[in-house]
Amino acid sequence: MTYSFTNLDALESESIYIIRETVAQCENPVMLYSIGKDSSVMLHLMMKAFYPAKPPFPLMHVDTTWKFKEMISFRDARVKELGLDLIVHINEDGVQQGVGPFTHGSSVHTDVMKTESLKQALSKYGFDAAFGGARRDEEKSRAKERIFSFRDVHHRWDPKNQRPEPWALYNGMKKKDESIRVFPLSNWTELDIWQYIARENIPIVPLYFAKERPVIERDGMLLMVDDARFPLNENEVPEMRTVRFRTLGCYPLTGAIESHAATLSEIVQEMLLAKTSERQGRAIDKDGAGSMERKKKEGYF
């Protein structure tokens, strides 16, 4: 056997190191499980980091109640298969007020059902560290975020006041009421994620693969009619088109792309030749320069 240590091996080791460091330094960590491909990779790394033990912390899904049905069934199957604990948190206040993307618009919906809901859940369970699957190549403000990223009592990020992280020396010491977001996938790129999924045979939600699905076209986005809550305008008739998703979120806010990529290698091929970046399918990133930074200061993950 000739020994070779590749890009993916290096990324894997680094992530595992970060994950173990968090567990060694924090009292009550949780993994935020968003069910997407990055979460799937992170979950796989968690299994590796502690094998033969199970990850010594629960997973948590902040459910906005508007996720694709296939995401929820995939989530439940994965958790069962791996024998892990899952907390599902829903902002009940938001549910009672009937908050949803169609009635309240994407920004109120995201704010109440995702941002607020996440803060609620973290406070409720007293988690002092939350793993997230964000990558630095995704968005400009993320490129500067630390791997151990501190949040104050109100879960706010202060980009000007970040701890230096030289070498791989992570300082997880925190004051009462402070918490950390930990990003083990910081140094992965989208291509790395796909290649690792292929190499390790990691299951992902079928929505990433092209298939005939009922969609309508609205404001230049292809939206999938995932359930009866989708209010159709008079002239809108869902039609079956072969589409897939590059990112997953709430179905009314996530644009599909027309594609015939039905296998991993086809997806990667399409990605390499793509002319738009991954987050373009997300409604939230469209409000111009500095929007993500502002959202993060307010407590968006």
Binding site: Y3, S4, T6, N7, L8, D9, A10, S13, I16, Y17, R20, E21, A24, K48, A49, F50, Y51, P52, A53, K54, R136, D137, K140, S141, R142, A143, K144, P159, K160, Q162, P164, E165, P166, W167, A168, L169, N171, M173, K174, K175, N187, T189, L191, Q195, R199, S265, E266, V268, Q269, L272, L273, A274, K275, T276, S277, Q280, G288, A289, G290, E293
Partner: protein, 637 residues
């Protein structure tokens, strides 16, 4: 234009590309340059050329160029990489950011850091994981003081390979003379910095000369463009292959009684089942049983692999211990000579305790005064009492227990550390172990037959320190005096240490800076501990204004023997009393750093007793202390 991607829809070409990408090596580098040398432009250009930029990003770049841009007509590539809104508005890069791109041969991780002196810490952070540095120079300006500083910092952090990027060649008419002069100057300047390779390339980041391909604007240059050079430059360290095995234990994996594994990342060398290993600092020896992984047991693990090892023997091992090759174990020490870069707005306080974190270790340490502080521009050694933000110096550290280590030169992982403030938990410094100090080996604590217990049983009491803290004029000494008289009357053996008295003798060399105050408290705590060892009830009356120093006293003396008494009066009352006339002088500016006026008093959060010295007399309060000492069993009736 497409530099690295297959342009056809041919699946076979994609698969070939992918398998190449998967087996690419990674090169981590840092870019350094002063403001406006064109660093952001170069990075933006590299991302663009390697197709890391998509149409939607180009669109928003076009928008942003109109809004913030400085380039007139051209794309302002710098805007692609200046991430935070604050810095785009100011047009500068203020933090460390990491960027990613790939060519056909390699994947690159770029640490993008600002160059100004006030950001030395950011540059050092970026350099800490870099294998190569791109040092940028504005061709019109040549080598500047900053160039020296940047080169020094990357060399200090162990970077061995440099690309000298002579930028803005378009503004000097692509002149060969300019380029060669700068190259010669740099070679001369960097002689002592220990670089193994320096490659000088003339470029224009803005126009794209010598980035991907050899530029036709500079026919006199035939040294190749930047990308092809980065693709092949050999940054490997040949000695890596022969380094002995070391793995700092990160996590003890104990899912059930039958399994006990030690998880960590191999810091150097190779390990295989049946290898003999030694655990440091305990020096116990065992054999590797299995290298456990999720994909099955492994035949070997090498530097960089995250693994879980099991051993042939039941040995007590915890996080922070190091598993090393038995025939070549690493050293263990508790006093070190360190090179330190201070990273906090709050200056270094010698004598104060910090948390020393190195690899997976976390121990308490005390720093000495710096031997010197380094002028990063002239490389001169300057005398210094302390280190301020962004200053680099050399000092000693005394750890509260020995740790396994290697010098930074031998091993970046085992020889690097950060220092953490014990109260704010801020990371205040980063540094490198230069060498251990052998002093500690010759000093052994001598075990005496007659110990604290024996001495105190003779006196029929349980010794402790009654530590009275509070503002000047709160009444500490008066209460202490009353208390000691009462104890004397009860045949209790006692001793009283008073701030003013000690400062006239033992501590007369100390002033009132934070650092001197810390040393003052440390000595008093050590003396009190000796008193307690001799069996005495020891009354200490010191302002001791800082929580962290009182905590240090508590740590030195021991939780069980430490009674913290807060003599509580409001500042206005103490100032009104002003028995010694000190407040008046302080208000007049004659006493700098006077507690309550020029320097803060931090009230205890969890004092054992709080004495209200406004409502009660010293006699009453002394009685309360006597009852407390009785209740807690320190003295008897």
């Amino acid at each position: 234009m497409s530099y690295n991607l297959p342009s056809s829809h041919d699946p076979q070409a994609v698969m070939t590309y992918l398998s190449k990408h998967e087996h690419k090596s990674v090169l981590r580098f840092i870019t350094c340059g002063s403001v406006d040398d064109g660093k952001s432009t170069l990075i933006g250009r590299m991302l663009y050329e390697s197709k890391m930029i998509f149409e939607d990003q180009l669109l928003s770049l076009e928008n942003d160029s109109k809004k913030f841009g400085t380039t007139g007509g051209d794309f302002d590539f710098a805007l692609l990489v200046d991430g935070l809104s604050a810095e785009r508005e100011q047009g500068i890069t203020i933090d460390v950011a990491y960027r990613f791109f790939a060519t056909e041969k390699r994947k690159f991780i770029v640490a993008d850091t600002p160059g100004h002196e006030q950001y030395t810490r950011n540059m050092a952070t970026g350099a800490s994981t870099a294998q190569l540095a791109i040092v940028m120079i504005d061709a019109r300006k040549g080598i500047l003081t900053q160039t020296r500083r940047h080169s020094f910092i990357v060399s200090m952090l162990g970077v061995k390979h440099v690309v000298l990027a002579v930028n803005k060649m378009d503004l000097v008419d692509y002149s060969q003379d300019v380029f060669e002069k700068i190259t010669d100057d740099y070679m001369e300047m960097s002689k002592g910095l220990g670089f193994k390779s320096v490659k000088s390339i003339p470029l224009s980041a803005l126009k794209g000369d010598n980035i991907v391909q050899q530029s036709t604007n500079m026919p006199w240059y035939d040294g190749g463009a930047l990308f092809p050079y980065l693709d092949v430059v050999d940054v490997g360290d040949p000695s890596e292959k022969i380094k002995p095995f070391r793995m700092p234990v990160q996590w003890v994996n104990r899912p059930n009684l039958d399994f006990r594994g030690f998880s960590g990342e191999v810091a150097s060398g190779v390990v295989r089942p049946n290898d003999a290993v030694m655990i440091l600092p305990s020096r116990k020896v065992s054999k590797i049983k299995r290298i456990v992984s999720y994909n099955g047991d492994l035949d070997e693990a090498r530097a960089g692999n995250a693994v879980t090892l099991t051993l042939g023997d039941e040995i007590d091992i915890s996080r922070g211990d190091v598993i090393a090759a038995a025939d070549c174990p690493c050293d263990v020490a508790d006093i070190f000579k360190l090179r330190v870069l201070w990273m906090s707005e709050k200056q270094m306080i010698s004598g104060r305790q910090y948390i020393f974190r190195s690899a997976t270790n976390s121990v308490v340490c005390t720093l000495s005064r710096p031997d010197y502080c380094l002028d990063v521009n002239s490389f001169e050694h300057l005398a210094a009492k302390s280190l301020e933000l962004n200053e680099i110096g050399v000092c000693d550290a005394m750890l509260d227990r020995p740790v396994a280590f290697e010098t930074y030169n031998d091993n970046r992982t085992m020889g690097s550390f950060i220092l953490i403030d014990k109260s704010s938990f801020e990371t205040v410094a980063m540094g490198m172990i230069i060498h251990p100090m052998r002093r500690s080996e010759n000093v052994h604590a001598h075990k005496m037959d007659i110990d604290r217990e024996a001495r105190s049983s003779l006196k029929n009491q349980k010794p402790c320190v009654v530590w009275m803290t509070g503002l000047s004029g709160a009444g500490k000494s008066t209460i202490a005096n009353a208390l000691e008289k009462k104890l004397y009357g009860r045949n209790v053996h006692s001793m009283s240490l008073d701030g003013d008295n000690i400062r006239r003798g033992l501590n007369r060399d100390l002033g009132f800076t934070e650092s001197d105050r810390a040393e003052n408290i440390r000595r008093i705590a050590e003396v009190s501990k000796l008193m307690v060892d001799s069996g005495l009830i020891t009354i200490v009356s010191f302002i001791s204004p800082f929580r962290i120093d009182r905590q240090m006293a508590r740590d030195i003396i021991g939780e069980d023997s430490f009674v913290e008494v807060f003599v509580d009066v409001p500042l206005v009352v103490a100032e009104e009393r002003d028995v010694k006339g000190l407040y008046k002088k302080a208000r007049a500016g004659e006493i700098p750093n006077f507690t309550g006026i020029g320097s803060p008093y931090e009230s205890p959060e969890n004092a054992d007793i709080v004495l209200d010295a406004v409502a009660h007399s010293a006699e009453e309060l002394a009685d309360r202390l006597v009852s407390y000492l009785k209740e807690e069993g320190f003295i008897h009736d």
